[in-house]
Symmetry: C2
Subunit: 237 residues, 2 copies
Amino acid sequence: MEVNIAVAKIRKYATSTSGDTVEVTERPNGGVSVVLADGQSSGKGAKWVSTFVTRKVISLLAEGVRDGAAARAASDALFTERGGKVSATLNIFSVDMQTNTLVISRNNPAPVILIKDDKVHILQDECIPIGYYRGTRPCISEINLEMDLVALMFTDGIIHAGKRSNQPINVVSFIESLIEDEPDITAKKIADMLLEYAITVDQGRPADDISVVALRVEPSQNGPIRRMTVQLPLDNL
Amino acid sequence: MEVNIAVAKIRKYATSTSGDTVEVTERPNGGVSVVLADGQSSGKGAKWVSTFVTRKVISLLAEGVRDGAAARAASDALFTERGGKVSATLNIFSVDMQTNTLVISRNNPAPVILIKDDKVHILQDECIPIGYYRGTRPCISEINLEMDLVALMFTDGIIHAGKRSNQPINVVSFIESLIEDEPDITAKKIADMLLEYAITVDQGRPADDISVVALRVEPSQNGPIRRMTVQLPLDNL
């Protein structure tokens, strides 16, 4: 088996910087973590916040700190740094090779969507963004890494997409129809199509920064080869 | 224009851990950096070294420290931590949006290969691995980000591939023939094909950890959408 992870992101229309940050890092005991943070508001201030949060989480994960403790530490650090006046949402997907599980951490009102045994599960227990209060905790779920497991996390740009044009997105039914049409759909295609859908209902001008992370466990195609790709538009050239 | 970066890596045959580490991180003033380190020897000890080095470099780059200073700091930190007894090679590709350049740092006897204006350039000024001496400096090159620029870095697993079977690799002529056959070849295909070639001449059993990072500047296909993918084999499942 292999885990495929795909990230697709776009910034709010007419801003120079996305306030969302996604970073991927190796875990010291095997596996990778994907950290997704959305800083309050948009533009440079939001970018500072989301970078601060992801950097804190990644440096702790790299030292072997468990995900829940890293998320709490990031919350307390942001609370301390900005006096409880600035918040961020934070999600972590960790492929943990020691336990053979996907560890999902949420400090985000937006749900995480799982597809497991052909059923859609919505992780939406109430859990608040980090930074506003001392002692904020993440919601943690731990799922066995089984063939065809799909997991999807996103920032609230997805939740709010289309609201201005009265075409709000129903993410769950969109994903259900994607999987029904193409049961072997790749993580990359799920992420790309959900982002494309959100941009379309926002009439080509995203009303907010939007980031999507899709993960799928698939049959192994490459033996022990690891791969990574990055596609980076150079807007100013 | 957009920058496409592809990483392909495999560990030495019959080892549980690659001693090579590759991490990609956002730069605080725009762009991304790819950090590639190869820890001395193989297995867990080498992994500790390469993780130590990449983590140090990434945390400094994330604070806005320039690449050369980050590479020197990593060298001094490894020298201090291990008393000059352990070395690592270190390469950095940084896509710098402030200067619109690719900044290439080498602390590695292995060359970096550039293709620019259809000509192959080999960056092979002498520059030693980090960790053995106090004050080791990287070789730095700064190249304008122009359409069709290709840059390729790799660990010494590529240099030594095929030596056991008397089929040593000529990386330069291999890359030249790839580009001649397919002028629009993607970064992903360059990385995948070079790694595949190395594994083949190692008769399917890599004699060392091998990592390849390819970068290409291409026409923009996606407007301002950023993408990333990760493919992670789960060997123990």
